[in-house]
Symmetry: C3
Subunit: 136 residues, 3 copies
């Protein structure tokens, strides 16, 4: 079963921490050793992992992406959100995280982030937790 997370973003560009919600799905699954799959069905928001401690890291990521792909530019798409589409492709739309002993096998400083580039909006993330296949 694919579980749907619904996340309300609050500004134009931000990294929203969804680690707790994903971990809750992992715990409800009662999978001990497995894989957590994440997918975001949008084109102006992506998924990434990064530091969960100092929020200035997230700020630096957003500010640097906004500098690399500036809002004002020679874009053809008339909706004005081409930079959001480009930044979402740079982050990516799917991710996979190991599960061990019923917990996401994240590094000490890793959190899971929805990378919003054209908010504020309501966004969805699909999550699936699978037990490991045993090798034959």
């Amino acid at each position: 079963m694919w579980a749907k997370l619904t996340i309300r973003t609050s500004t134009k560009t931000e990294l929203v921490d969804i680690t707790t919600q994903v971990q809750e799905i992992v715990q409800r699954s009662s999978v001990r050793d497995g894989i957590c799959y994440l997918f975001i069905p949008h084109t102006t928001a992506g998924l990434t992992l990064n530091e969960n401690w100092d929020p200035s890291v997230r700020e630096d990521i957003i500010r640097t992406l906004n500098k690399l792909v500036p809002q004002a530019g020679d874009y053809r798409h008339v909706e004005g959100n081409s930079p959001a589409h480009i930044k979402a492709s740079l982050m990516g739309f799917s991710a996979m995280i190991p599960i061990r002993n019923s917990h996401l096998l994240l590094g000490t400083w890793q959190g899971i982030y929805l990378a919003e580039f054209d908010g504020p909006r309501q966004r969805n993330v699909w999550v699936h937790v699978a037990p490991l296949n045993q090798s034959p």
Copy 2:
């Protein structure tokens, strides 16, 4: 079984829509709820998802990537295609898309794209469709 898609690209840099071919593999698999895995075995082409409606979005993505990693530059690799290698790494080489009710669980505006950065060439994409594991 891994299915191989063969795609003929037609220019140096472009996003080629492969959504229909991937969806056909999903339908042939008769998997109802599952996961679609995609992998591109190249180093100067990647995979991404993005808007399937206004083609100017794809054009803006390509033009912005070409601006970020310009063709002319102080590159060491003598074949002259270092920018293509770099842009492919920015897009990524593997992706995962949920399947529900026998369809790719893409967002309304999402399409699947082969990101060609050193064409025109014949490219391959490996696709596998797996049913969901049931949690114990």
Copy 3:
């Protein structure tokens, strides 16, 4: 079971080839047709695939990323490694590679790389090899 690779990086920014170690895990698994999952539990190092032949390609990738996200800049994070966090997010933290006939289904020129952006350090990569699910 998730297997842990431990890799000692030797400089600040580099692409370290881990293809051989991953292939060894694939061979030990005796999985014939399957999927190899990779995950890096760090926030200043990522995973990518790219050319395994001419080392100048890796050098060009690193030099271009360092140019796009320069070490000196208007960053808020006081540890001084914000550029490493950003470049890691651009490369990504998880990857999936098909397995066929007991081998990674890599392209001729593809190698698997740990992308170090804040070394030298000891890094881990989690690897799991799963046989293909059979469609019902």
